[in-house]
Structures are given as structure tokens and as C-alpha cells.
């Protein structure tokens, strides 16, 4: 019933896949046993530990997280120590069990498919990781836009991925020689930023501002539903006007293949990551050294105090939404040379940036960047190290989602989030 099939980054991955000699023999049994061991003990640790802490009238706020990690990493051994001694939990209790948990996962993976390149070839793993970092920088930039919106307006924009999609299309129709105006890529980037900024500002001014003026009942739900409606509207407008054909442009600059040591980096990704870093530097300069940027940060810290010193929080809301949309649009413009661009690419980007901001901590800029890179690595390792290609491409997003669900349940503040 879908109007068009999901297009995933298939072309990007296939050249790696051809290089991997897949053995036909699988031994899923032991791997699944190890996984089950990790999951079951993690679950037991997560459920029982906080109860024991609460029963002994101790601080149980960290017990769920620490219990889960202890159970997953060292199984009953550490759990029994935790349960009998109930020590005060600080970060040191996390180091060894998290390392062993990662080791167990790697062991499961290695027994699942002993001839996989990810187990046998270190070079392959490093090249997947570096690819993941490159694309993860862009994920980080998209998520920074979302986290900026969250820290100023206090809402999550469900239309964020659609701004990313629009930015890509704006760049495509500016740059492309055959379909578009055939202008220089830099103009394409600027156009993408401008268009998404204007749409974001207009949307915030007309539809979200009434919420902050108190003209709307139940504002939290209003914001979620409204941005969801915007996503719906933007995605299908793009489909109706621009069509479902995949679009792609050549790499912005002709760099040739970039080889560092034993690994080769695709130039389009290197360019995209470079653009991402440039955007990041400009954003940091803007936030730290300009009046508007300082005003934005002031509003994110304390709305009333900012208003007292003469900053209009309503205008800052509009600016933040526009900026967030622009960051998404710019990343879209940078990635249109890497991925095949279709109108529903935004839905994927949306969910991915939710994963990133929840992992990094809602409202934290460094958290969003680091979360983006982590998700980039996990996705590219997940797809590169999975023996069955088509299944791996489908599960690529599932890995991120699982991290997301686990983080939401165990530590909703994320890695760098402010305490709720």
C-alpha cells in the first residue's frame, strides 16, 4: 500500500559486501545462548536491584541502570555482590561490567559467523568504523538542530527529518546539471539553508507561537500533533511535487579516492563530513560570540531571567526553530551527494535523530554530536558485520532503535542530559 518502496543506502554498502566471502555454515545456537544469558541477567539485575535498594532505604535512582549493566556484564557474580553488600553506586561499578558485556556481545557475534570479515579482518572493522564516524558527524549535526529546538522551545519537532529531506532537494535542484539550475554546490548549500530556515520560521511564527502565548489548550500534545502534521504535509507535498524517483548529485568536489594507511574513504562522505564540521564550527562561533547566540543560550537556561534582561523569548523561539530546521536542511544538502534522495528519506532521519538526542541527552549539544557519531558507528558496523546483506540493511535501523529503547528505559536523561 506504500506509494513507493523504501530506498535504503544500498549502493553505498554493496561494494563492501562483494568483498566479504560469506560462508554458508552458520552456528546461531551458541551465539543466541550467549545473547540470552546477557539479556536475561541484565533484565534480572534491572528489575531486582532497585527493589533491594529501596527495601533497605538506600538511594535507588541509579540502581536500575547499574543493576542491568552488572547483570549483563558479569551475570550472577556481581549481582550477588550488589545485592548482599548494596554499596553506594558510582561510575567505578560500571567500568568492568560494561567492558565484559561488550566482550560477551563480541564473542556472540564471533561464534555466530566465524568467517565474517568483521571478526577476521581488523582493517575491515576500522574502515567500517571510519565510515561510521564520517556519516555520524552529519547525524550529529541533524540532531544538534533537534536538540537546539528542544532546549529553547521545550518540544521535540517530529518534522525534523522532513526539513532534512527538503534541504537535500533544495540542494539537488540548485546543483544538478540535468534536472536543476546547475549552480555551484556552495550556492546549493546556501539555498538549502535559506529555504529550510524560512519554512521553519514561518511555521513557528504562525502555528507554534500561539502555544507559547497561551492560546492553546494542552500545549504539549498540541506541539507533538502539530509537528507530526507538518511532517505529514511536507513529506507528501514533496512526493506530489517532486515525484518518487531517487535523485543524487555527483560529489561536490573532485577529490579522488582518499587512502589513509590501509583504509579507503569514499570522497563523497569525506566532503559531507567536512561540511558537517564546518557547520559545527560556525554554529559554535554563533552561539558563543554573537549577541543572538548568547541570547539563545540565556533563554535555554532561564526564560524569566532572559526576559528580565531584555531578550524576547518568543523571538528566540522562532529563531531557534528556524536554526534547527536550517541545520537539518544543511545536513541534507551535504548528504544528497552520498545517498539516493527520495521524499520518504526524512522519516528515517527523524527517527534516527530521536535516537541520537535521547542517547546524548535531551538538550545537550555535545551529547547530540557524540550520540550521532556512536549511532553512525553502530549502524555501519551493524550492516557491515551482519552475514545476510538484505536482512542486515533492514536491521540497520533496528540496532539504533534498540539502543534508543534501552536508553529510554534505563537512563532517560541520556549520556549528558540534565537531571530531570
Amino acid at each position: 500500500m506504500s506509494p513507493y518502496p523504501n530506498v535504503i543506502l544500498y549502493e553505498e554498502q554493496s561494494n563492501f559486501m562483494q568483498a566479504s566471502p560469506l560462508l554458508q555454515e552458520f552456528h546461531p545456537g551458541p551465539a543466541l545462548l550467549i545473547l540470552a544469558w546477557v539479556v536475561v541477567w541484565g533484565g534480572i539485575g534491572g528489575v531486582v536491584t532497585p527493589r533491594i535498594y529501596r527495601r533497605r532505604d538506600l538511594d535507588a535512582s541509579k540502581a536500575t541502570l547499574y543493576g542491568t549493566i552488572a547483570g549483563a556484564g558479569l551475570g550472577p557474580i556481581l549481582l550477588i555482590i550488589l545485592w548482599t553488600k548494596t554499596p553506594e553506586l558510582d561510575w567505578r561499578w560500571n567500568v568492568i561490567p560494561s567492558l565484559t558485556a561488550l566482550g560477551l556481545l563480541y564473542w556472540a557475534f564471533a561464534t555466530y559467523h566465524p568467517a565474517n570479515l568483521c571478526v577476521t579482518s581488523g582493517t575491515y572493522v576500522i574502515s567500517q568504523v571510519s565510515n561510521g564516524i564520517l556519516i555520524g558527524i552529519l547525524y550529529g549535526v541533524i540532531a544538534i538542530g533537534l536538540t537546539l529546538i528542544f532546549s529553547i522551545l521545550g518540544i521535540v519537532s517530529f518534522a525534523h527529518g522532513q526539513f532534512y529531506m527538503l534541504g537535500g532537494y533544495a540542494a539537488f535542484f540548485t546543483i544538478s546539471q540535468t534536472m536543476g539550475a546547475g549552480l555551484h554546490p556552495i550556492i546549493g548549500l546556501l539555498m538549502a539553508g535559506l529555504i529550510t530556515f524560512v519554512i521553519g520560521v514561518v511555521f513557528e511564527y504562525t502555528l507554534l507561537r500561539p502555544m507559547h502565548l497561551g492560546k492553546v489548550e494542552r500545549p504539549g500534545e498540541y506541539a507533538i500533533l502539530l509537528t507530526f502534521g507538518l511532517a505529514f504535509f511536507l513529506e507528501y507535498s514533496a512526493l506530489a511535487i517532486l515525484g518518487a524517483n531517487p535523485r543524487k548529485v555527483d560529489p561536490f568536489f573532485n577529490l579522488g579516492n582518499i587512502t589513509i594507511g590501509a583504509i579507503t574513504l569514499p570522497p563523497s562522505r569525506v566532503i559531507a563530513a567536512g561540511i558537517g564540521l564546518l557547520i559545527l564550527v560556525i554554529l559554535l562561533w554563533f552561539l558563543n560570540y554573537t549577541w543572538l547566540g548568547k541570547a539563545l543560550r540565556a533563554v535555554s537556561q532561564d526564560k524569566q531571567a532572559a526576559a528580565v534582561v531584555g531578550i524576547n523569548p518568543l523571538n528566540m523561539n522562532t529563531l531557534a526553530f528556524g536554526l534547527g530546521a536550517m541545520l537539518a536542511g544543511l545536513s541534507g544538502a551535504a548528504l544528497v551527494q552520498v545517498l539516493a534522495w527520495v521524499p520518504n528519506i526524512g522519516a528515517l532521519a527523524s527517527t534516527r535523530s530521536f535516537v541520537v538526542i535521547v542517547l546524548g541527552g535531551m538538550g545537550s549539544l555535545p551529547g547530540a554530536m557524540i550520540g550521532g557519531i556512536v549511532i553512525g558507528i553502530v549502524e555501519s558496523l551493524g550492516v557491515g558485520c551482519f552475514p545476510d546483506v538484505s536482512r542486515a540493511l533492514a536491521y540497520q535501523q533496528v540496532f539504533g532503535m534498540i539502543i534508543f529503547a534501552v536508553v529510554l528505559l534505563l537512563k532517560p536523561t541520556g549520556l549528558f542530559g540534565r537531571e530531570l
Binding site: 498540541y222 502534521g229 535501523q397 534498540i402
Partner: protein
Amino acid sequence: MMRTVIAWALGIIAVVFLALIPFVYDVFPSFPPGLVNEYTLHVLIVGFYFAMLASSWSLLMGYGGQFSFAHLAFAGIGAYTTGLMGRYLGTHALTGIIAGTLMAGLFGLVIGMLVLRLRKTYLALFTIAFAEIFRLVISAEKDFTEGPNGLPVEPLFPNGLNIAGYHFDKVDKLPPYFIMLALLLISLALMSWLAASRFGLFLRAIREDEEAAAALGVDVVRYKVLVFVITSMVAGLAGAVRAHYVTVITPNDMIILWMSLVITMSVLGGIESLIASAIGGIVVFVLLEYLRTNFLTTSVMAVVLTVILAPTLYYLSRYAARRWFNSPLKGRTRTFAIIAAAVVALVIGIAVREPVTTGLSYAYYDMTGSLFPETIDMSAWRLVFFGIVLMLTLRFYQNGLLYPVMQYYFRPGSLKETVAKREAAAAIAETEAGS
């Protein structure tokens, strides 16, 4: 009260009408095509499915304030449970439907317990993640679920059905039509009863202020989980029955688009009323199907011109009234101005549709080198239309389009009561602040 009688009569007539439609089709097999035929019945059946989803979502969201984007995933759980059981265990459709409903309830229980701690935004994010995981896993496990190719499911009555000496074939639309209609009415009745009972009261209390409700003795945990379970069971039931009706299910039935449409249905009808959202579901789905056909570019142009011109004319007349007659538009004059603007815009739109389309198509040809299409494919534009309608409804009619009308008829005087109560509360607050 006269108004209430009219309202009840209209409601009963609507249900009787829905119950009688198929007989028209059955008695006159050669009825003029396009009026009542197999396709109409099909649209209505799927419309009932969406009505069930929309009304249960409004119980979850409008009453309980629990944000869930996983409603389609629960319907999918019901559908895939019965589909997979029928395929691998060879169970009967009825067993499968019951199992699917229970399975959806079980998932609702687990998810409801997991997300207890999460507040609105986080809950929305978590449910969207769950829905996506479920859909992706179903499409990835091709060997087991057939993935995007679709899992074939047995029809509701594989051997046909004999009632009162009349034989219905397994592809006949009448039995599924009545089953869907009956399920919709039963689930609506059950959920309305729940919403009107203490359960509904507690839910609304939790929605307004969780801490306050807990302080007053409401078992927050129990009711939050319970509402998740009940609504996901309704969704699972709808999904399972629909699976047996369309006889093939794919992961694409669960993409975000359908969730957006369920939200649209619920919001357009009225998010705080189960019956309004159900009617919204049927109406929106029928509209969706109706708008699917291709339209002539010229007629679309007429509509677009009207929509652009009408507000322009109205604002112009408002400006003119203020500028030259020195009086703002209000009351009857305002109504007149709105109607006149709409009519004049429509006339102008129809009059100039041909030359405007021709001019645009020349410009289009100059720019792209290809011809302007004579008909417009509406399959994506109708969704754009509903996106705009959803946003505007949320902004300007938060109670939905249908619910205020229903309230006007079913609860005459409630508006006055509310206003009186609000004023009394404001007066009390003022005296307290003064003292």
C-alpha cells in the same frame, strides 16, 4: 428537549442506513455503477476498521493523555498473529482473531508497564521507535513472514456461509461488512461505557494532573496500564479481522502514513469523543478513496484559485470597510462578507480556470521542456490536503470539527453551564487573591 430528540433520531437513522446499504446492493445487482457496489462496500469495511482504530486511539490519547504512535503496530500484531497461526498451525479464523486480540493486549500490557515512567514527549518517541522496530523486523524476517511480499491469510469464511437458505461466497462482501459494523458498534459501546464510568473519570484526572490524581487516591499505575491494554486489544481485534477480510497483510499497512491518517481522523472528528472520532474515521477514509481518482487539471485549478481568492477578497473587503466606511466588519455584515467573498471567488475561479491553466502550462513547458499533465494524479495530493486540514484543525478547532456540533445537539446548555462554572471559578479565585 427537541434538539436531543433530533440528534438521537439522526444517530439511529445513520446506523440503520449503514445496516441497510448492502441490501440495496443485493436487491439491485445492476444498480447504477458508482452508487452502491462492491467497491463502496469495500471502502466502508476498511472505513469501519479505521473508525475502530481512531476511536480507540482517542480513548488512549484524548481521555488518557497517553501518547502513542504505535497504534497501527498493535493492529499489525493482531493481524500477524492470526496470519502466522493460520499458516503454521492451521488454526481457524475465529481462534486466530481471538489470539490476535489477546496478543495485542499482551504487548499493550508489557509496553504500558515499560513506559509508565515516561512522560508525553518521551512516550511519543518510545512508541514511534517500537512501531518502527516491529515493522522493520516483520519486513526483515522474510522466511517467516514473507516480508514485503505480503503474508496470505485465509478469508473469514473459507467455505462460504449459508444463512437462511442463502449462500454467500467467500469473496462476498456482505458477511465481512456486517461483522465489521457489528464489531465497530460493540467496541464503541464498550469504550463509551468505560469512558462514562469511574474508569473514564480517573483517566481524565490522570491526564490533567498525574500527581494530583495520585494524591486523591487514583491508582495511577493500574489505570495507565489498563487503558493501554484495552485500546491495544481493540486495535488488535480490528487488525486481525481486517487481515481476514483483505486476505493479505504486509508491513506497509503499518507505515507512519497510516498512523498520521488515524491521527487526522481522530483530530478531525474530535479527539475527546469516541463516537466523533469513529465518524471522523469513516468520513476521512471515504474522502481519501474518493479523492484518489484523477482530476482534470482545469478543475483542480478552479479549486486552487477559489481557495486562494476567497480569503484575499475577504481581507480586502475588511480593509475597505475599515479604510473607507470607518467601521470594522462584524456581526451580520461579516457573515455576508464571508459568503460573498466565497461566492465571488468561486465564480472567478471557474471563469478564469482555462486561461490560467494554459498560461501556466506554457510557462511549465518553457522551463522544463515537457508538457503539463492534463489530469493531476491525486494519490499524493490528497494526503497533502489532509496534512493541511490536520494542522488547521489543530490550530483553530482543537475540539475537532464534529464534536462541537454533536455537543450542541446532544448536550444542550452545556456551553452555558461551562461558561457559568468558569466565571464562578474566576470570581472565587479573584476574591481569594484579594483577601
